[in-house]
């Protein structure tokens, strides 16, 4: 039940108001929303009458604007991030920035703004990249102030759903943490096991805390095994060190607009430079699967042979044959059970 009727000029006018920039002329919008592939379309090439509304307005595509807009979005987003994550290293800011401005995120935002219906392109349905490029091109045609508003209004709220531990997953967080704390004057950093429960069960939990100078708890977290728990605790400690905790809010809307973000144009410190040369500051490689199938079979057999032998099965599971009264068909009244036909060949 789609709406096949649409008036391109009206749609552009409405879009201008929706995005908060009604003063920008129609021609500029059309240029920003024209994909390169548009001019390869059969009907546009042959200049079929009324092939695509707006064909007579714009003859340029948005390639240049995409590049320009991408830069400007990134600049403003990084300024915003640097203000809010003042103590974080520049690598983390880069990670968050590249995640928020990737094709998937921008295409989602563009979809909700209605850009998908306005982009002039050969492909149908529109690809994620074209949609994202159209959004970037819009940032290319806006003034600096408007790009800042665009970032604060549409891109920054996505931060609410981001897990900062996962977005910058260090391969060896404990080593990095050790280096950073040593730079602040801490001499001894050790992880300690606080609690554990269910070691031999299917869901063990180990709570590990990282202590500085045997006194201060800098980070604490739980995990399925001791190594995982240490990793998680180190990550938590790093986030706490950088003041990225869940009890700090980000400024949105007017509060963000009133902050002088231009002052945060200088990049933050670099983690690789601040850490010792030998420390591994690389990120976790998600492409390789961590567990091989052998481990899975091993785990299942271990559970069956060792855990079950100790923990045992529940009373009703052991005596399943005694507790089962039959299938649903057998347990219901006869008049409620629909007879199942069997074909006899």
């Amino acid at each position: 039940m789609g709406n096949w009727l649409s008036d391109y000029n009206s749609e552009l006018y409405a879009f201008g108001h929706r995005i908060g920039a009604p003063e920008i002329s129609e021609n500029e919008y059309v240029k920003a929303l024209t994909n390169e592939s548009f001019f390869e379309r059969a009907d546009v090439e042959e200049q079929v009458e009324r092939a695509q509304p707006g064909a007579e307005i714009g003859t340029e595509h948005n390639g240049e604007l995409v590049r320009k807009g991408e830069e400007r979005l990134s600049i403003w987003l990084k300024r915003y991030l640097r203000f809010h994550l003042a103590k974080a290293p520049e690598e983390l800011i880069d990670s968050v920035d590249s995640h928020l401005l990737n094709d998937e995120c921008l295409a989602g935002i563009a979809g909700h703004l209605g850009i998908d219906h306005l982009v002039r392109t050969k492909e149908f349905p529109i690809s994620q990249q074209s949609s994202a490029d159209a959004f970037r091109a819009l940032a290319g045609i806006f003034s600096d102030e408007k790009v800042k508003n665009l970032v604060i209004d549409f891109i920054v709220p996505q931060l609410v759903d981001i897990d900062f531990a996962d977005i910058y997953p260090l391969a060896d967080p404990l080593a990095v943490l050790t280096d950073l704390l040593k730079a602040e004057g801490v001499t001894e950093i050790e992880p300690r096991l606080l609690r554990s429960a269910g070691e031999n069960s299917a869901e063990p939990i180990f709570v590990v805390a990282i202590y500085a100078d045997k006194q201060k708890n800098v980070g604490q977290s739980a995990g399925e095994s001791v190594t995982i728990a240490i990793d998680m605790a180190a990550r938590e400690a790093l986030l706490r060190l950088w003041n990225i905790t869940s009890d700090r809010v980000l400024f949105f809307g007017d509060r963000a607009a009133s902050v002088p973000l231009e002052k945060y144009s200088e990049p933050n410190y670099s983690l690789t430079k601040k850490c010792a040369p030998g420390t591994n500051t690389s990120l976790l490689d998600e492409s390789q699967p961590t567990e091989s199938p052998d481990n899975l079979i091993e785990a299942v057999l271990r559970y069956r042979n060792i855990v079950d032998a100790e923990v045992g099965k529940s009373y009703t599971k052991r005596l399943r044959h005694k507790f089962s009264r039959g299938s649903l068909a057998k347990r219901s009244f006869r008049y409620l059970v629909k007879p199942k036909p069997y074909t006899v060949a």
């Binding site: 039940m1 789609g2 709406n3 649409s6 008036d7 929706r18 709220p157 609410v160 606080l194």
Partner: protein
């Protein structure tokens, strides 16, 4: 008690529909698309199409509405495109398209002008999310500010190295003071 009586229904489709996260969802948590309202409020309605018949009596209300009210509404909401589409021998309807890609249709047959206006304004104020039974009246970004309780939060550390059963954890606690405690607290001077 017997099992739930089987109703003659297209079971696979119904079951599948209950599991689908689109249109046929029956209950869900409170959601608003695209983080609307966090930084800025944008009206989620993109375009509205009013389909009507120029001749039939069922479209009278819609026709009057188009004549009298539609231009004013359009002026007040510049970010929404309003289409008026005459279709011969059709039931009048109002179709609205939202930012999350969903389309809503209201059948305006035999509606009066005020009824049409009411439904029109309802479509403007909706967000395009489907109408579902809400699991909860609230939904939050951050579950807890002061920290969620877990069974481990206030667990005494002495319990870590003890193997249960241990005498000190098996004591019965009560608010009533025992004679010994009373004497210990109120030492005679």
């Amino acid at each position: 008690m017997p099992s739930v009586p089987r109703v003659d229904r297209l079971k696979p489709i119904y079951t599948a529909a209950k599991a689908l996260n689109f249109g046929w969802r029956f209950s869900d948590f409170l959601k608003i698309p695209a983080y609307n309202g966090i930084s800025r409020y944008t009206n989620q309605l993109h375009r509205i199409t009013v389909r009507f018949c120029k001749q039939s009596e069922s479209s009278v209300g819609v026709r009057n509405f188009i004549e009298n009210q539609i231009v004013e509404i359009g002026r007040k909401n510049p970010s929404v495109v309003i289409y008026a589409q005459p279709v011969r021998n059709s039931n009048p309807s109002i179709r609205a398209e939202y930012g999350n890609g969903r389309t809503l249709q209201i059948n305006a047959k035999n509606m009066t002008e005020t009824e049409v206006s009411k439904d029109f304004h309802l479509l403007f104020s909706r967000s395009g999310e489907p109408v579902v039974k809400l699991e909860s009246r609230q939904s939050a970004l951050c579950p807890s500010v002061q920290g969620q309780w877990t069974p481990i939060t206030w667990l005494p550390t002495a319990m870590n190295t003890e193997s249960l059963p241990a005498k000190q954890f098996s004591e019965h606690k009560s608010t009533a003071t025992s004679a010994t405690e009373y004497i210990l607290q109120n030492q005679p001077k």
